[in-house]
């Protein structure tokens, strides 16, 4: 369950922000997660509630913006969307794909009081 470690990372980022600006609580956290990142949004949601307990983000709403995976097909030279690795190119059927986007896991913004 590395999603636990990932959520700890989110809380660490929130607490670093708290050191730079004053706020009393975090109402919501907005994440950006690529379809090819190393975590499942459902698992992140589950872990976040646990990890946020007794922090400034306790009870905060987690919003996750999911971004598609994008790959470059080396066979037909097209940029295509893929939901996970190991899928074939929808245009030509090739597996010769180079992932170009959709690996990110970022904290985009916080809504604070």
């Amino acid at each position: 369950m590395h999603e636990m470690a990932i959520c700890l990372g989110i809380i660490q980022i929130v607490e670093e922000e708290l050191r730079h600006r004053s706020f009393s609580r975090v109402r919501s956290v907005c994440l950006e997660m690529g379809a090819l990142s190393h975590a499942a949004p459902e698992a992140i949601r589950f872990c976040f509630a646990v990890v946020a307990t007794r922090t400034v983000a306790e009870g905060a709403v987690l919003n996750i913006v999911e971004l598609p995976g994008v790959a470059w097909c080396m066979s037909c030279s097209k940029s295509i969307e893929i939901a996970r690795r190991g899928e074939r190119c929808p245009c030509c059927g090739s597996y010769q794909l180079q992932v170009t986007a959709g690996e990110q896991m970022r904290v985009k913004e916080l809504e604070i009081d």
Partner: protein
């Protein structure tokens, strides 16, 4: 609320993805274009492929003003009203701050430090990953007992509880540090940095990191290694690369172990390699038996090529 997409608690993202339609997206993007000249960090409208997914009703008009302020005013703002209402106080104490930070940024920073240290110490570092029981430790014991004849070798053993693996490595005559992760399912860069400082100097040699047996979690964490090596035993079946594609994609080499058992099992080597190349077209593949030593000559040759490659990279940098 996210000022970019307007997602609220009522619109979980999976639902967003389903209800998103291109038309509302296009409409939204146009109004942002009109109003906002600082939307470089905005995930919308980047040739359609970078777009994020939204519920249709999140693109309502009140959203636009919050959005606009967030971009134009950089950070602090009172939400829920248009720019003209900014002076009205007491309406809401909500503020939205844009932070745009990578969740794994801290680990990746430490990993970069580790990598710089390893390169400065002229040390080649491999991060070995596999599912439990693939035979990593047996493979390592054989490899280190032979590699130590020609260069310094050390091992960092990651294990959830025991220290028996490190003892097996030490019995083979090389330094080993055991890292117990407890309930942790992976090693991280900070733990490796600390463990490395406790090892004797291995200048010009090789450091193996044996990660926790788990094909999911360790894929996410860069430790500062030169590359990951995924070990797969033929008893696990051909479809492991498709079931755990992220790990195979993160690895430079797939070592197929326990090939001595092939006569006893129905195992399709070609299929396994094909599946691995579906997720990682350029992955190298070696077939070995840690029990009999079959294929280890090729493994050492591969390691030597990696050592030469790292040396070239370092020399190029110095030039």
């Amino acid at each position: 609320m996210c000022t970019v997409c307007g997602c609220t608690e009522g619109t979980p993202s999976t639902e967003c993805a389903k209800t998103h339609d291109a038309e509302s997206h296009a409409r939204y993007y146009t109004h942002v274009q009109d109003d906002c000249d600082r939307h470089y960090a905005h995930p919308h409208g980047d040739q359609g492929l970078q777009r994020s997914y939204h519920a249709r009703d999140s693109h309502s008009h009140h959203h636009r003003s919050v959005h606009h302020q967030a971009h134009g005013g950089q950070a602090l703002l009172s939400g829920g009203a248009g720019p003209a209402a900014l002076k009205v106080t007491g309406m809401s104490r909500e503020r939205v701050i844009q932070i745009e930070r990578d969740i794994l940024g801290k680990n990746n920073g430490i990993a970069a430090d580790n990598r710089a240290l390893f390169v400065a110490d002229d040390l080649l570092v491999f991060n070995l990953v596999s599912s439990p029981g693939a035979g990593k430790t047996t493979l390592l014991v054989r490899a280190v007992s032979e590699l130590k004849r020609s260069r310094p070798v050390g091992v960092i053993e990651g294990d959830q509880q025991t220290s028996s693996d490190a003892e097996r490595i030490r019995a083979a005559g090389v330094s080993a540090i055991q890292v117990n992760t407890g309930k942790g399912c992976h090693l991280d860069a900070a733990v490796i940095g600390e463990a490395y400082r406790r090892l004797p100097r291995l200048t010009g040699g090789i450091l193996f990191i044996e990660n926790v047996g788990n094909l999911v979690c360790p894929a996410a964490f860069d430790l500062g290694e030169a590359c990951k090596i995924v070990v797969l035993s033929i008893t696990e079946g051909e479809d492991k690369p498709l079931k755990y594609p992220d790990m195979f994609a993160a690895s430079s080499l797939m070592v197929i172990n326990k090939i001595d058992l092939a006569p006893l099992l129905e195992f399709d080597l070609g299929k396994t390699i094909e599946y691995a190349r579906r997720v990682s077209p350029k992955i190298d593949v070696l077939v070995v038996s840690a029990r009999t030593g079959e294929g280890f000559g090729e493994l050492y040759a591969w390691i030597d090529r990696q050592a030469r490659h790292q040396r070239h990279v370092v020399e190029d940098k110095r030039r």
